[in-house]
Structure formats: structure tokens, C-alpha cells
Amino acid sequence: MSPIEDPPPTGIEALGCLTPFGDAEATLHALLAGRRALERLPVLGADGGERVPLALAGSPEMTESLPPRWMGPLRSLAAGIPQGPWGSPRSPVVVTSSNFGVGSLYAYMGGRDPGHLAHGAPFACVDHLQREFGWGGQVHILSHACVSAHVGLLHASRLLHAGLADRVLAFSFDFVSPFVAGGFHSLKILNADMPAPYQARESGSIGLGDGAAFAVLTRAPCDFVIRAQALHNEMRSFTGNQADGSGFAACAEGVAAAASGRRLWVKGHGTGTLEAGRLEAEAFARAFPGAPLVSWKGSLGHTLGSCGLVELALAVAAVRSGRAPGTIGSAPPCFADAVALEPFSTAGFDGAVIASNAFGGAHAALLLTHA
């Protein structure tokens, strides 16, 4: 595989996220305290089913309402976006999600209320956001399952470094619905067990969580930068990975050159599945020897397409605070010695790798550093 060419470092002018704990600072505080947002709730919401680990923002249960339950939290998140002519050619918006408003289609099937259909298609969902937040027409929409946010960040960087934009608003969100929870439950990886990322145990399990985040990216000098970005798609199967971990290694290789000589910590994907968790932990241990590896999905659940940007916002908050949360919900033995179960000081580190994976053996990673 030839090296992936990356644009120059991209400045992070502003960043914010929203989880069931609140904003980035509130979420970081909760993670550092070892709190779990996940709780066992019926997999199909009001329609019942097995109780599985879900972490919901702003609502006690997974109901599909009108307006959709994601609208309120997204309004709250958007209130923190710096002013700008967002959606204009020089300040485009890059929106990413895996599921957009697809939960509205499930709601429609239940009660046949046509009001739900207005949010069901990705473009309709984003049209709603455009109107709500006053964005112009230059809104790019990308959807690559659980690496969606990373793909959007790379596109945003390219727009900036091609000189086509001065600032780009990257906006990502995914809210759990019976559609999504039912789908992961059918794959049997969402079950009654709480996730324990990177823990070597009998059976794997994940949790799902609501998440949303934004970043304002620029070429101008900023305190934090995205120094390298890499993507790789194995295309071996929809839900499996190459057994030798080569897909994880190929993606890590894409940021390794820029990371060379730095003391790193790694925020891995770490959903709680066994095989992918083992391959990921082993690949990062080889690519970044000695770098502590953490996952926060044992607390927040997997926030799907938004996870790359949500967890980037949390990583920046962690570095600012001087402490990174450990891998909540997991206990020894783990797949690699590098798995950090407890919070640790970020002093002495000068970079963090933020990684995500998706269906199709899709891998994404970025390197976060100070400028």
C-alpha cells in the first residue's frame, strides 16, 4: 500500500460535543469519575424487547417523537458554534451521520403519522438542520457508517488546504433509535451485557449512545491541530476484519510517520466486541509501542457515525484538563498491556491518535497535537 497523502495540519478553532452527560467538560468530568451513561433499556423503546445498554441524551427513553428527540439536543449543541456565514462557499458545512433521522421511519411504521416522514431521509434531515441553524446551501453530506465523522474531517481539511474555504464547520450526530438498536441487537453484539472494551472475556457486547459534536476547522494558527489523517477500507466482509489485523495496521501506518518521535496516547474504537478489540489493541501496540490505549464506549456507548468527532472533542478537553479518562467498564485481563483502565496524566504526551472503525472493515485515524 502506498502512503496516504495528507493535507498539512488543520487548525481546530473551536470544538464542542454533546453526550448524555452534557457538554465536553461535563462528559470529561463524568468519565474521569468513572461514571457510566449506559443503562439497560428496552431495545425497541416503547415497543419493548430485551433490555440492552443504551445511553440517551435529553430523554429517559428511546421514543421517536415529533419533532424528533434529537432536535432539542442539537439546538443546544449548535448554540456553541462560533458565528460565521456557515453554508456559504468560503465557509461550507460538512455534515456527517450514519443514521440521520432514520428512526423517524421506524416511528412512521408504528403509527403511520406522516409527520415522521419529513425527517426520514438524510437530505430531509439535513434540510431541517439547514433551516433551523440558518446555514446556506454549501452543505456537504457524507455517510460512511461509524467512520463518518473522520471522513468528514478529512474532506473539510482538503477544502481548506485547496484554498476553497477559509473555515469549515464539521457537524456530526447520531441518535439511537429502535431501528439502529434493533439492527445491532439482531447481530447479537448488542445484548444484555454491558460493554467491556479490550477486556479478554467469554463473550463480547457493545452499548449504543447518543452523540453529537462540531468542530470549526481552519488553516489559521490554533492551539490544537489535526496533524495527520488516514482511512483504509478492508472490504473483506460487512462485519468482520482480516484475521491478521492488517486493516488496523494499514490505517495506523497512515498516521505513524507524522507521529514518529512523539509520545502518544491512543483513543481507540473499542466498542466491546472481542475479535475487533483484540486486533485493534494488538495493532496499536505494534504501531505505537508503549502508548496507553483507552476506549470511552464502555461509558458513553458507541455513538456511531459521530464517534470520531465526539471523542476528538473529549480528547481535546482531556488534554486541556491534564487528565485522560481510562477504559471505563473493563477489568483485567485485557488484550494488550497498553490498555489503560484508570485515568492518567496527559503531561509528557505530545500527541493523541483518535481511531474509529465501521462496517466493511473501514478504519479511520487522526493525529491530534498542539500546533
Partner: protein
């Protein structure tokens, strides 16, 4: 802003009434048997458009669809409360190209699944022009919906388009060009209009994303 040359083009337009089952029979020789039975109509059409087009590790793939896996979505919703794992996997937006490349067991560095409606074509071409890979495979398409179509939330026609875009102009069928400038956005061609124009080798031009776009043929 570099332009890209069109080195290959194929438009797959099935009979208007064709369903996935009929497409599986018609296109059976183009796919591994194990993959064929799980493929959606859009996956089959995309694979047919890409038939004979090698996709390498160092290529980038750009995929554009407004509605993507409509039938898998409709059928998946119909399986509740016993949700189907297969339909869940195939209902995701990037699925069509993934079905094809998984069938080929072909990894690829960068895969860009794009959606949207009003400026979808422009977004996809912008990603293709910004790519650093020398060779970009652009795949676009839709499948015809059933009940979602009745609600105005699905495509009324099925098609798939494949273009191979390179930086080498020699022997090109045509080119896609973007010239940065200050022109205000005009109406961007819809995905079906873009596919028709490519199929007819008809030129297109519009302004958007802060510049002028053109599709020209040799």
C-alpha cells in the same frame, strides 16, 4: 484546481420494472455466487456499471446516492420486531459499493460515500477533484422504491453510473473541470440528470461551491 479526465464511463439502466431478483438472474455471471444472493438491486447495478473496471488499493472510490439502499431499508423495517441482521447491514448508505468490493475482496484506501439531494453531484465531483489518488472511481446510482416512493422518499427509477477519472488527459472521453471564482450558486444538476447527461455525452455547466463547473466531452 486540477481538472479530471474521464477515461471510462458506463451507465447501467435496467428495464423500468426490473426488481432485484430479475437483476440477479440477468447479471449472475458478473458476481461470485456467494455474494450474488445477498446483493441489493442497487448493489447489482453498481457492480454491473463497474464490471471490468479494476479498482486498486491506491485508487479512491467516490459514491453518490440520494436514497441509496431503499429496498433494504423498507424490507428491514418490515422485519420488526425480529429485525433481520442481513437487511440491517445492507441498508447502510455505503452498502452498494461495499457489496461489489467485498465480492471482489478488494481493499481500497479511501472510500467516500456521499449523500444529499440539491448539490449532491457537486459534492461528489468536488471530493473527486480534491482527491490525491491518481485514479478516482466515481460510482453513482439509485434503486426504485416501493412504499417509500409512494411517500415521495425514494427514487422513481433505478440506474447506476461509473466513471473513472484520472489526471492524465491522453485519450480521455471527456473532462470535469472546476474553476474557482465568485459566482453565486446556481441550480446543480440532479443525480439522474447528471447520469442522463453522461449517458448522452452531453455537456453541463453551472456555478456552485464558489466556482464554475463544466462537464465536456472529446
Amino acid at each position: 484546481m486540477p481538472e479530471r479526465s474521464i477515461q471510462f464511463m458506463r451507465l447501467e439502466r435496467p428495464h423500468p420494472g426490473e426488481q432485484a431478483a430479475a437483476a440477479r438472474v440477468r447479471l449472475a455471471d458478473k458476481f461470485p455466487r456467494t455474494a450474488l444472493r445477498r446483493m441489493t438491486h442497487l448493489g447489482l447495478l453498481t457492480g454491473a456499471a463497474l464490471d471490468g473496471v479494476p479498482v486498486g488499493e491506491d485508487d479512491a472510490v467516490v459514491y453518490a446516492s440520494t436514497y441509496a439502499e431503499t429496498r433494504a431499508l423498507e424490507d428491514f423495517l418490515g422485519t420488526f420486531p425480529a429485525a433481520s441482521p442481513l437487511l440491517f447491514q445492507t441498508s447502510i448508505h455505503p452498502s452498494a459499493v461495499q457489496q461489489v468490493l467485498i465480492g471482489r475482496q478488494q481493499s481500497v484506501g479511501r472510500y467516500w460515500p456521499i449523500t444529499g439531494r440539491r448539490r449532491l453531484v457537486e459534492s461528489a465531483l468536488l471530493v473527486a477533484l480534491l482527491e490525491t489518488a491518481p485514479r478516482v472511481v466515481l460510482a453513482c446510482g439509485e434503486e426504485r422504491g416501493s412504499w417509500l416512493l409512494e411517500k415521495g422518499m425514494a427514487s422513481d427509477r433505478a440506474f447506476a453510473l461509473a466513471l473513472v477519472l484520472t489526471q492524465d488527459p491522453s485519450g480521455a472521453l471527456g473532462r470535469v473541470r472546476f474553476t474557482a471564482g465568485g459566482a453565486p450558486d446556481e441550480t446543480c444538476p440532479s443525480l439522474p440528470d447528471f447520469a442522463d447527461a453522461v449517458g448522452e455525452r452531453r455537456g453541463l455547466s453551472w456555478s456552485g461551491a464558489g466556482g464554475e463547473w463544466s462537464l465536456d466531452w472529446s
